[in-house]
């Protein structure tokens, strides 16, 4: 009984906070999008508060006290704000039954994956949940144990947002049950699907929101990886949130607070995995490029300030971790002028990476048949006349998705590890992180006008 109540309370509070936060910053947000964004952002924010408190106090119980105080204060503060009813965009009238059927199939596959691997995949045990156990079970200073040199190959430089969330859930449940990491995985997976669907609907693309969501629901790997209890699903959710929020901002620039929410999502991605920091850099560079292309329209300064304010909290937590605890990242440490000079002109290296990217792009989803080609043909069929004059909505999605892929490519190019091993153990998860964002881009590109 305590387990069920603990799981419920550990999730309900942050979801409520997220709902209120989105409502406060964006009073006219539609119900479905508010719920999807709120679930991911609220859980992430409380996890980041817990994580920061853990870095300062080194005590899981102090961290729980501080995070829950922040939760109560946040709910009280944002609960007093605007009470405007969420807007309801009309339900699209086509293909709803098919989408529902896809949802049922995806849910069956998700349950089957959880049943087959209740403890997640390898890194869940060796990295993420192991660190959560150190936080939850250590009688004193869990960080000293996590950073022990004996555990050098458990990625000690990786941020601790997910282990913090899992440990917090275990504190509520009173035991280190697998139900907590599974619940978090399902929450972030479902939240990502909701953000794609409701975000595109909000952009007045009802049919394309259904098509993009259908392709996502028809990606078995998305759900198997989503419930593997890795941190990649959190990064995926935060990346998708930030990109969708910016697309919405581009569609209606009058709401200046959407970049703030996007910044919060990007900051949380940075607190989750090192790829999240890459996303912050890519998003910032992408937005600055878009603003420069538009010759810094009025409101550009405010947008940049809002984005920076949103990202600031996540970067503060990450900065505290990197400065006070984290050992240097082995990939970054291995990058020297010599390595750069050698690898940039090593064409066989480039060819191997490009080949792996090309092959994985068509197979990572564990599809019966890869939908990528069909989506590209659809975009070309719709836009063949107007490709040179793109509408403004898709630029951020395109720049950030392309920027992330370029960043991954550069990491592989400069990696000190055996290339085949590095590609084989990580590329599918990296493509998973940007797959929903790529589908958002597809839906925006396949729209005329």
């Amino acid at each position: 009984m305590r387990l069920a109540i603990g799981v419920l309370f550990s999730l309900a509070g942050p979801i409520t906070l997220g709902w209120l936060l989105v409502r406060g910053l964006w009073p006219r947000s539609p119900f479905g999008l508010r719920a999807s964004l709120g679930a991911g952002l609220g859980t992430g924010v409380i996890g980041a508060v817990y994580y920061l408190a853990l870095l300062i106090t080194r005590s899981p119980w102090w961290s729980l006290g501080i995070s829950e105080s922040a939760l109560v204060a946040g709910i009280f503060w944002w609960g007093r704000r605007s009470t405007e009813k969420p807007s309801q965009s009309p339900l699209p009238d086509t293909a709803q039954i098919l989408l529902l059927l896809l949802l049922v199939l995806a849910a069956i596959w998700t349950v089957a994956s959880i049943t087959a691997t209740p403890h997640g995949q390898w890194d869940a045990m060796a990295v993420w949940n192991l660190k959560a156990r150190f936080i939850y079970l250590s009688p004193s200073d869990p960080l000293a144990r996590i950073m022990d040199p004996a555990l050098w190959d458990t990625q000690p430089d990786y941020p601790l947002l997910l282990p913090s969330l899992v440990a917090r859930g275990w504190q509520y449940a009173g035991t280190d049950t697998v139900v907590i990491p599974i619940s978090l995985a399902v929450l972030f997976t479902a939240s990502t699907v909701g953000i794609v669907f409701f975000g595109l609907r909000m952009l007045n693309r009802p049919l394309l929101s259904q098509l993009a969501t259908a392709v996502l629901l028809g990606t078995p790997f998305f759900f198997r990886q989503g419930v593997s209890q890795y941190a990649d699903v959190l990064v995926c959710c935060f990346v998708t949130s930030a990109i969708v929020l910016y697309c919405l901002h581009d569609a209606s620039p009058d709401n200046a607070r959407l970049p703030l929410l996007a910044g919060i999502a990007a900051g949380l991605a940075a607190c989750t995995k090192n790829e999240g920091l890459l996303f912050v850099l890519v998003l910032a560079a992408g937005r600055l490029s878009v603003l420069a292309w538009r010759r810094f329209p009025s409101g550009a300064h405010r947008e940049v300030m809002n984005l920076a304010s949103g990202v600031a909290f996540g970067l503060l937590v990450l900065g505290a971790f990197k400065r006070l605890y984290s050992p240097p990242n082995p990939i970054v440490q291995g990058i020297t002028g010599r390595v750069i000079a050698d690898r940039i002109v090593d064409w066989t290296y480039h060819a191997r990476i490009l080949k792996a990217f090309a092959q994985k792009s068509f197979t990572f989803g564990e599809w019966w048949m890869c939908p990528l080609l069909l989506l590209i043909i659809h975009v070309l069929a719709v836009r063949w006349k107007s490709l040179a004059a793109p509408s403004r909505g898709w630029t951020t999605a395109a720049l950030t998705t392309a920027g992330m892929l370029a960043g991954y490519y550069s990491v592989y190019l400069l990696s000190p590890y055996d290339l085949d091993w590095h590609l084989g153990t990580s590329l599918d998860r990296l493509l998973f992180q940007v797959w929903p964002a790529a589908l958002v881009l597809y839906a925006l590109l396949a729209t005329e006008g």
């Binding site: 150190f134 144990r145 004996a150 019966w368 719709v382």
Partner: protein, 137 residues
Amino acid sequence: VTGLRFWTACIFAVLIFALSLMNAARPIRRMYRLHVSPQASTLPLRDAELVHARSVIGGLHSDRLAYFDEEPGWNTIEAVGEYYAVQYSLAPIVLRRDSKADEYALVNFRLSRKPMPVPGYNLVEDLGGGLSLYRRR
């Protein structure tokens, strides 16, 4: 032109939905018709097996223990995987591979399943599941 656009949209919608349904149904069809389960867990989880070991090691009041595998060198995926499984089960104790600095040592006889003499150490207890606890002489 509007008619052409409409039919283009319809054709792509049908194709994308059909392909998505085939993709989503494939693993379920494999599961129920061909009895191919989702990639089953290969994690060598030891939580249930190591309950006694957890209580004995918890009573040592030591944060860190040396850890040795029966097969020295850490050259096999089985040895490394087993280390993580035991480390996960015994957290928050930190297991230090091949450490000479700790008073107590845990030796994993995962192949022979029975404790052997370890030079420089006295056997304290066979903890079961192939694990034995030793104390430095």
